[in-house]
């Protein structure tokens, strides 16, 4: 017979160490998969994890991909820490990009210093608004935020689809499903000549600092922490539960909206169907891999961004589909959850003799 018991005290060091174990196991697991696909596992892993960042351009691409992941995961950490399961960051990202992109299109033939900040603010507000929908439904109508936030992802994606093929499509674009190019004033400044890394990374770093401050040094952070550990206690202490749900969803949505704006004003420069390779979903893995800790999330976003790059390199050099990146992301989450389970519970195998089954 197998008995599963909760461990009473889990050492903090081990708690922050398990993500590394999960990453290690992912690499091993990936090696095994490559082996069965007929590749030399060491070489394939090298293509996956080392080649992509072996030059300056690759490193800039890593930071470019990590930026939206980090921003979204920071926002999600507010929700997850307080027991609110917002899994619709992809939708909030898309809606933020629609609103920000709409503003950018208004100014498509203008230049001015005020254009980019306006777009950024519009994108954040867009994401915030979109996250408020599941939050309001949860607080006032008792709906399940997981379902609502997830389903809204498809709403925003279809809306984007409609806009880029219909009203917002580029009049000179030969009916391609995309909008006009944004004006130069609507683009994130590039940090280095010839590299795609842009000023959006400062937004992500700012979000990290701010979230650390809010989570650990403010009353709001304290309320979030208590609510995450015990909703009963939060109620007993008289925390304004409804307001808090709205606030954490707004923070989360704003971060996702910013990430969306960062993409369209950064590397993309216009709106089209594929503005995000599921950053909003992958950021859930980033948030948990980073233990919902702001600095952990920086680290986790770099690791997960690497799986995106590795998949692209592997596609070029090994001719395997780039969706292997998602396999790796899945494995990270799987091994993280598995090692967490073993961290929080112990499994006891009790001997059971044959005749014990009879009385």
């Amino acid at each position: 017979m197998i008995k599963i018991e909760k461990r009473n005290d889990v050492p903090t060091t081990l708690y922050f160490l398990t993500p590394f174990i999960a990453i290690f196991l992912t690499i091993i697991g990936g090696g095994i998969i490559f082996y069965f696909l007929g590749f030399n596992p060491i070489e394939a892993l090298k293509f996956f994890f080392v080649t992509p960042i072996s030059n300056l351009y690759g490193f800039s691409e890593l930071l470019l991909k990590a930026t939206p992941l980090c921003l979204i995961a920071i926002g999600l950490s507010f929700c997850f820490k307080s027991n609110n399961w917002n899994i619709g960051a992809e939708g909030q990202l898309t809606f933020g990009a629609i609103v920000g992109g709409g503003v950018a299109l208004l100014f498509y033939d203008q230049e001015g210093f005020y254009i980019l900040p306006t777009i950024i603010i519009a994108g954040a507000l867009g994401g915030m608004f979109f996250a408020l929908i599941p939050a309001v439904l949860k607080t006032y109508f008792n709906t399940n935020e997981i379902l609502v936030s997830l389903m809204l992802v498809y709403v925003s994606k279809l809306l984007l689809d409609y806009l880029v093929v219909g009203p917002w499509s580029n009049p000179e674009g030969f009916n391609f499903p995309e909008t006009r190019q944004f004006s130069n004033s609507a683009r994130m400044p590039l940090l280095f000549e010839g590299l795609r890394i842009h000023a959006g990374i400062f937004l992500a770093l700012l979000a990290v600092m701010l979230s650390w401050f809010v989570l650990y040094k403010t009353y709001l952070g304290f309320q979030i922490k208590v609510s995450g550990l015990s909703l009963k206690t939060a109620k007993y202490a008289g925390f304004k539960g409804k307001t808090m749900i709205l606030v954490v969803f707004m923070i989360s949505g704003a971060c996702a909206g910013l990430a969306g704006v960062g993409e369209i004003t950064g590397p993309i420069g216009q709106l089209h169907r594929m503005i995000s390779p599921d950053y909003g979903f992958t950021a859930i893995i980033v948030a948990f891999l980073g233990r919902l800790n702001p600095f952990g999330i920086i680290f986790a976003s770099l690791i997960v961004a690497l799986t995106y790059l590795g998949a692209e390199t592997a596609q070029i050099f090994l001719q395997i589909p780039k969706y292997t990146g998602q396999v790796f992301q899945g494995m990270i989450l799987f091994f993280l959850l598995a090692s967490d389970y073993l961290l929080f519970f112990k499994i006891k195998i009790l001997s059971l003799k044959k005749n014990d089954l009879r009385h």
Binding site: K217, Y219, L220, F222, K232, Y236
Partner: protein, 501 residues
């Protein structure tokens, strides 16, 4: 054939504590044995060893001079040792009969005959075909007892069986136990209630800190002598105070409190009205599950009800949340220490910050003032003799008693005008209980009021000035405590009536 159960030199060591230290005891059929001790004295460990739940590090168990290997509860069952635990192991949604048929191989027809024989023999009245969730605690316990009796046990172990029973149900249980005893079943009765030992048992073994400290005939013992053996120190007797409350003003008044819930596991409350005077302790008795949870949450502001009027110090507070009520100098100590009143994963000072009243300045302009919270926490730890001075300690490392002291300290250090507490001494040992009782009496002396919702009648009689009973969401007449006897409370708690006509 008479039964002779003997444990010899049993030891069980857990990391950091010796649960059983060379325990040797002998039990013979025809008598009822009490195993008496505080929480953590080692009774439960010994009983778990006897019922095969855990195995000892050392020592042996003999049944009729035959050494027993008890590696699992099934081994205990095979050797005809039956056990009724404090918490019932029943499937609430299955019928009584289904519950009883789960662990037998007998076909249903035979089983029903057997059960009916037992019901008749011991005068139990239980409908076998209703779901267990419709039974009272006493009836559920009977189902557990029947389950043991079906196996013709030689030994029957009862673990704190009366903690959930009314006075009447307790009396019935005692009658049954005596009957079993006369039929040759050896009965071991685990308790920390002294009166029960004296009224039921023939012989009593007292355990303290894992050791057996005394074995004696109950006829040679008195409540005081047993209490001294159990606690190991002279108990400071708490006197029931005699406050003159006639001329005191009412500071808290509840009118038309009604609560309807859609949740079948919640109790509806019906037209509850009462008031509390300055310096008074109002006791609310009742078996758990009769609406105490809901009442506490409405009084604390966790549940807001419409149409209810709650006046506190001349202000209507019915629509205020707990935090706002605290600003008016109310304080709350819920029953559930571990998942409501405090969070085990939080550090002591963080748990202190949960009672964040305006003048505390714990959070200035939305920022955490850690220094202030820690200073305040240190003061609570010393003033309420919590046995640590480390405010950074995670609360899960505090024992139940110390955690409760911390919670009460946190609530009381603001000098509230009214403290509402729900089972403040639940699951604590005698030392901690005494401390908390003294604290509660002290605040009444300081002209502060308390509402004590409790399932412990002794506690209510000791602390309350007036007592009412809550039964199925309705509150009985409020009686001055001089009028109240344990028997009267028992009648009301069981749904009976004590007022003639």
């Amino acid at each position: 054939m008479p039964t002779d159960l003997r444990v010899s030199n049993i030891s069980k060591i857990y990391p950091g504590c010796i649960a059983n230290d060379k325990v040797s005891l002998q039990f013979k059929s025809g008598k009822i044995y009490a195993l008496l001790g505080e929480n953590g004295a080692g009774k439960s460990t010994l009983v778990k060893i006897l019922s095969g739940v855990i195995s000892p590090d050392n020592g042996e168990v003999f049944l009729n001079e035959k050494s027993l290997k008890l590696n699992s509860p099934l081994d205990a069952k095979k050797n005809k040792i039956g056990m009724v635990f404090q918490h019932f192991n029943l499937f609430e949604t299955l019928s009584v009969f289904e519950n009883l048929s789960i662990d037998t191989n007998e076909d249903n027809k035979n089983l029903r005959v057997k059960i009916n024989d037992i019901l008749k023999k011991y005068n139990f009245s239980i409908d076998l075909d209703i779901p267990v969730l419709n039974l009272s605690a006493g009836q559920k316990q009977k189902v557990e007892i029947i389950r043991c009796l079906l196996r013709n046990p030689k030994v029957l172990i009862m673990d704190e069986p009366t903690s959930v029973l009314t006075e009447q149900e307790t009396d019935e249980l005692f009658i049954s136990l005596k009957k079993f005893c006369d039929e040759g079943i050896l009965i071991i009765y685990i308790t920390h209630k002294l009166k029960e030992v004296l009224s039921l048992c023939d012989e009593v073994a007292v355990m303290r800190k894992g050791k057996v400290v005394s074995v004696s005939q109950t006829e040679d013992e008195k409540i005081e002598t047993l209490a001294n053996k159990m606690v190991g120190q002279k108990l400071a007797k708490i006197k029931k105070k005699n406050n003159n409350l006639k001329n005191k003003v009412e500071i808290f008044k509840v009118k038309h409190l009604n609560f309807y819930s859609n949740d079948p596991f919640e109790t509806n409350l019906e037209n509850i009205n009462f008031s509390v005077k300055k310096g008074e302790c109002l006791g609310i008795a009742g078996i758990s599950g009769n609406g105490q949870n809901e009442l506490f949450q409405i009084l604390s502001g966790e549940i807001i009800t419409s149409n209810t009027s709650i006046i506190f110090r001349n202000k209507e507070i019915a629509q205020l949340n707990p935090k706002q009520r605290r600003e008016y100098l109310m304080a709350f100590s819920p029953e559930d220490r571990i998942s409501q009143a405090a969070v085990p994963e939080l550090k002591i000072y963080e748990n202190v910050a949960l009672n964040n009243f305006k003048s505390s300045n714990f959070f200035e302009k939305g920022l955490v003032n850690e220094k202030k919270i820690k200073e305040h926490s240190k003061k609570i730890l010393t003033d309420f003799s919590v046995n640590t001075d480390n405010v950074e300690l995670k609360s899960q490392f505090l024992s139940g008693g110390n955690l409760q002291k911390l919670i009460l300290g946190r609530e009381l250090i603001t000098a509230p005008e009214l403290l509402i507490c729900y089972n403040p001494t639940w699951g604590l040992d005698v030392g901690a209980i005494n401390y908390i009782h003294e604290t509660l009496l002290k605040i009444n002396d300081q002209e502060k009021s308390t509402i004590l919702i409790s399932t412990d009648t002794e506690e209510l009689l000791k602390l309350s000035d007036r007592i009412a009973v809550i039964y199925k969401g309705k509150l009985s007449r409020i009686m001055p405590s001089e009028e109240v006897t344990p028997e009267k409370l028992g009648v009301l708690m069981g749904g009976g009536s004590i007022d003639k006509n």
